[in-house]
């Protein structure tokens, strides 16, 4: 069966440390993978997209890796801050017929302690 799994538990880390979130999938072949941030009571906000031929993508303190052999993406936040506390969603970008259909994971709740 097709599955997308993210860290099942909430992730608690100390301010200043690097947070690493995982996204594993089975029986999908996405061309792209996206990461979104969702704050309580709000809609998801796009953070980063990585293509299947890219190993790594960076944006400020964020870094994403994409291993299509392992069927895994890792999302890193370096020098984490309490303001980074939120739920982070990975989404497989299934493009068929040029239609962008996102399949979301269940999300990981990140709590950064001051």
């Amino acid at each position: 069966s097709q599955k997308i799994e993210q860290n099942s538990e909430a992730l608690n880390i100390q301010e200043g440390k690097t947070a690493t979130l995982t996204c594993n999938y089975t029986n999908y072949s996405p061309a792209y993978l996206q990461w979104y941030r969702q704050d309580p009571g709000r809609g998801p906000v796009f953070l980063l997209l990585i293509r299947e031929n890219e190993k790594e993508k960076r944006k400020e303190r964020l870094k994403v890796t994409f291993d299509t052999t392992l069927k895994q993406s890792l999302f890193h936040i370096t020098a984490s801050q309490p303001a980074d506390s939120a739920t982070y969603l990975c989404a497989l970008d299934m493009r068929g017929g040029a239609t962008n259909k996102l399949i979301f994971g269940t999300g990981t709740l990140l709590a950064v302690q001051p």
Partner: protein, 113 residues
């Protein structure tokens, strides 16, 4: 300026009623989407419209009917509401049907009693 807006933000109603949720985007995008996020925070696509044409129609009960009067608006009408319809419904838009980024609205929390 709000990019993607939804009304109402909260909707509480009885089983069996019919209700609508409205969505508008002022980004000039061609493509709009409806998602459902259940109590476990799982976000799942329901429908997508591109320039008023339905392009994604997931396995959704036919009690749910999207309508796009123009490319800036995508409304969701739900007939004969059931308890299991309780969720947060998000509208989103993207520049084109093949665009990288989707922009989400603030969500509508529907509670069916």
């Amino acid at each position: 300026d709000t990019a993607v807006s939804q009304t109402p933000k909260y909707l509480v109603t009885q089983m069996g009623n019919d209700k609508s949720i409205k969505c508008e985007q002022n980004l000039g995008h061609d493509t709009m989407y409806w998602y459902k996020q259940d109590s476990k925070k799982f976000l799942k696509i329901m429908f997508s419209y591109n320039n008023k044409e339905l392009i994604i129609n997931e396995t959704v009960p036919n009690r749910f009917s999207p309508k796009s009067p123009d490319k800036a608006h995508l409304n969701l009408h739900i007939n004969s509401l059931e308890l299991g319809d309780s969720a947060v419904y998000f509208c989103a838009s993207s520049q084109t049907r093949g665009s990288d980024t989707q922009y989400f609205g603030p969500g509508t929390r529907l509670t069916v009693l």
